[in-house]
Symmetry: C2
Subunit: 174 residues, 2 copies
Amino acid sequence: MKFDLNRATEILRQTPYTLSRMLEDLSPEWTESKGNSENWSPYDVIGHLIHGEETDWIPRAEIILALGENRTFVPYDRIAQFQKSKKTSLADLLTEFAHARNNNIEKLGRFELTPEQLALKGMHPELGEVNLGQLISTWVVHDLTHIRQIVSVLAKKYTENVGVWREYLSILQK
Amino acid sequence: MKFDLNRATEILRQTPYTLSRMLEDLSPEWTESKGNSENWSPYDVIGHLIHGEETDWIPRAEIILALGENRTFVPYDRIAQFQKSKKTSLADLLTEFAHARNNNIEKLGRFELTPEQLALKGMHPELGEVNLGQLISTWVVHDLTHIRQIVSVLAKKYTENVGVWREYLSILQK
């Protein structure tokens, strides 16, 4: 499937609502953070997604579009959410994520990106040269990766409860 | 996390709405079936989930609860959805799944299952002895497995578009 800004935006738009629908009626036993940066809970993942809206995707697009001399991105702190206060409820985090995402989708629309702009380059601090189209594609796949992570975390909590069915359930294999 | 019927039902209840929210505004390019039983599309997965509601989970629970002599389950046809007409829209399939699931959650509630009943045994045609609690747990994990499958299928469509970021995105690794 070729990159298309409208198709990409369809995925970016659904993510906060999909996650709200998935998580908002679950008991804390399913979702709450253990503060373990090696083993994220659904709560931790939402914090990570909010941090990405604030510091990663659109700020990096702006670095590329500013056409400056130095287009190296600021490294992204993957575990910033663990330094934040845990007093925010999951419901509030989900709302915050939806607001931040909707603002960023609006900004993305206001850029009115041309194919030439989508080919503009930036410099990833570790991976090297990337372009704006790849940045937006990665934003999309990053969303899907974290939805996948959340359902895997939920499933693994029931590993012991499925008995011999475990063998059939790939999500419990690793 | 120990098995608990209310906690399990929370997951069963969210699945159709989560999937509707995820898929209902996506273009067919993301979701449509290629009729390939080795490579399921989101459309195919919803068909599979509906078939499970009709022939697998509750019918197997009823076999166990009937306390009959022979409690061997009917084998489950994992690709039944490919024999069905493809004329149904994805939106209609999602509605059909939500109806079927809600009916089954109601049935599950009407069973008013006791801990003793949750320990009752059935016979899986391949895996052997299982109990009712394990059947319901597997229903839960099966849902999560297929949400995971759908986001993986969506993500892989953008594999070529992320450039060097591919290395960082575990969802694209296999």
